[in-house]
């Protein structure tokens, strides 16, 4: 059809026949159709199509269905429960937008959970390691060298030094709360300035590296802190490590690693217990006698070897290569000797100075009118915290995908083809309905 000759498009004629044109437009189209055979033919064809469709009659609604709906109407009128609608065909649900929102929400929630889990897992490997070491320590057979009456109830110590890395069996005894510790075996009084005397070694007295873990709750943190200093000074001990936390809206806490001369351990512990209420106490001792003896023997042998090499170097003559080889051997043996000497000193130091892992926790008393931070500071802190949280979340997501991305991609690649096939089959089935 020539558009120039027919200013009315065929589609316009259809709209006219459907009565969807304005009065003016309908009048113009009608006038055109009257004078145009082609357009009249289109009208005829459109009408015949509609008439053909009009022959498509359906049967009358079944009586049983009418009755069923009438019953439901009566129930609704009486405010009776009509039952729950079929979830699949609930009229106000399950369009694609709601599917998208629900699916997106579910994915976002899943990602958040994963991100939080990943960041938590990243923070805790050290704690896990500590717990594992403590657990392994508790698994060791307990050999009580602490004297009679020391066993109350065996528990897994919350904190233990990493003593189980040595081959020598360690001893672990934990005293339950309120247990009065029996006198610990005294290190030889002949220990002077951390050095064992020949008496201790020659008398075959057991060499025990003592470790005590003490958790105390105090009322006056400041006073306890001062008392702790005085206790250390009185017993010639020192801080190997000290860490004090002053959190907001919570009690202060102190974590310290104390080194106390072994002979004074019992009295020092008695003084420390007086600082407050003992919440937890555990003691362990690692016998290092055999280790020390072996070390001394190896040290002696190495020194003798060194002497022989030096004698060879001084008395014999030979090729330059032989001389250099002897000097290399001397250097190697010297290195071994120095390492063993350091190990010996460390071992003896551990025997002579017991380690006390102390935790002081203040009983927190909430303040009636706590000094609140200024509004600007709180807003700033909130922003900083929010920034850190957001960074951690993003980092967690990135780490998750970095760690699990290849696996996920593998699964996607494996499942993609079946999923595409199923989806196509579903679309095909949908298209035929």
């Amino acid at each position: 059809m020539n558009i120039a000759a027919h200013p009315v498009a065929p589609e316009e004629i259809m709209v006219f026949l459907d009565g969807e044109l304005s009065a003016a437009e309908a009048q113009a189209v009608s006038a055109h159709i009257e004078g145009c055979a082609d357009c009249a033919k289109i009208v005829e064809q459109s009408r015949s199509t509609s008439q053909a469709l009009a022959r498509w009659n359906v049967e009358a609604i079944p009586v049983k269905l009418e009755k069923s709906i009438a019953d439901s109407m009566t129930k609704a009128g009486s405010r009776l429960d009509l039952g729950k609608p079929n979830l699949f065909i609930r009229s106000s649900f399950w369009n694609w937008k709601q599917w998208a929102v629900a699916g997106g929400g579910a994915v976002a929630t899943l990602l958040c959970v994963i991100a939080i889990s990943v960041s938590t897992l990243q923070r805790s490997p050290q704690a896990t390691m500590d717990e594992r070491v403590a657990h392994d320590g508790a698994q060791q057979s307990v050999r009580d060298n602490l004297g009679a009456g020391t066993i109350g109830k065996l528990e897994v110590p919350r904190k233990l030094t990493n003593t189980d890395k040595h081959s020598i069996p360690s001893m672990g005894v934990q005293l339950t709360r309120g247990y009065s510790n029996a006198p610990a075996p005294q290190a030889s009084p002949s220990v002077i300035n951390g050095q064992p005397t020949t008496d201790q070694l020659s008398n075959n007295a057991p060499m025990i590296a003592r470790t005590v873990s003490l958790s105390i709750v105090v009322k006056d943190f400041t006073a306890s802190r001062s008392l702790l200093d005085s206790v250390l000074a009185r017993h010639h001990g020192y801080f190997a490590q000290l860490n004090i936390n002053t959190p907001e809206n919570a009690g202060r806490s102190l974590q310290a690693s104390l080194r106390i001369p072994a002979p004074e351990l019992s009295s020092a512990l008695a003084d420390l217990r007086n600082l407050g209420r003992v919440d937890n106490e555990s003691q362990s001792g690692e016998e290092v006698t055999q280790q020390h003896t072996d070390l001394l023997a190896r040290l002696k042998t190495s020194r003798e070897t060194e002497e022989r090499f030096r004698a060879i170097l001084a008395q014999r003559t030979g090729k330059l290569a032989d001389v250099l080889q002897v000097e290399e051997e001397i250097a190697r043996v010297r290195g071994d000797i120095e390492r063993m000497e350091a190990e010996q000193k460390d071992l003896e130091h551990r025997v002579n100075f017991a380690t006390v892992e102390l935790q002081l926790t203040e009983e927190y008393r909430a303040q009636l009118n706590p000094p609140a931070a200024s509004v600007s500071t709180r807003i700033y802190n909130a922003f900083v915290k929010g920034y850190h949280d957001a960074s951690e979340t993003v980092l967690g997501i990135v780490l998750f995908f970095a760690e699990n991305g290849p696996t996920l991609l593998t699964w996607v690649a494996i499942l993609a083809l079946p999923a595409i096939l199923v989806w196509r089959r579903y679309r095909k089935a949908l298209a035929t309905l």
Partner: protein, 200 residues
């Protein structure tokens, strides 16, 4: 508004929207009138779109139950007819998804009951097959226009399409159907068609 339909004599003259508001306020007569007006159109709506008459009955019932359940929340912002067919369309789409899902994963196919009258089957099958060959949206627009007698604006609102799209797609559907019917007529002779139609 409910006063307009409070008198049984006025029920039949009230608009659909007035009847629905009256039913929301407790008038069962109002819903009876609505049901009488739309029971056959709604059943026809589903019957022409589904081959299985039992499924058409189920979805018809489900549609009226949905209207009953949602009556307390009804607000006459649009024509009741549009509201009714919107619910019908959603129910139909959900049914199709469910059926496609079953066919995909369970291999279940819907049973098609044979119509009672062979002559009805001829006409129905002839037109149903022709309409089924149309593109999906075009087919829906055509059916809504031809059988539900919805205006272009109502169809556009129901299908969430621009009104010009409805126009062009409707024209395209009619032209395609005309070609299909023209092509199919020689296979089903005019005499057979006339005979079958006369027996209906």
């Amino acid at each position: 508004m409910s006063d307009a339909v409070g008198n049984p004599d006025k029920v039949s003259s009230a608009t659909d929207e007035q009847l629905m508001v009256a039913f929301a306020r407790g008038s069962t007569e109002a819903f009876s009138e609505l049901f009488a007006r739309y029971k056959q159109p709604v059943f026809g709506f589903f019957r022409r779109r589904l081959a299985d008459p039992e499924q058409a009955e189920e979805l018809t019932q489900e549609t009226f139950l949905a209207i009953l359940r949602a009556s307390s929340r009804y607000e006459p912002r649009a024509l009741f007819r549009t509201y009714l067919y919107a619910i019908g369309l959603k129910i139909l789409r959900a049914h199709r998804r469910k059926t496609a899902f079953r066919a995909t994963f369970l291999g279940a196919k819907d049973k098609v009951r044979e119509p009672a009258s062979p002559s009805t089957a001829d006409t129905e099958l002839f037109l149903r097959q022709a309409v089924a060959k149309l593109e999906r949206v075009d087919r829906e627009i055509l059916l809504l226009r031809e059988f539900e007698q919805l205006s272009y604006a109502e169809i556009a609102e129901l299908l969430r399409l621009p009104i010009n799209t409805v126009r062009s797609r409707l024209f395209r559907a009619r032209m395609a159907l005309r070609d299909l019917l023209t092509a199919r007529v020689p296979k089903l002779t005019a005499g057979e068609l006339t005979q079958s139609e006369e027996s209906v």
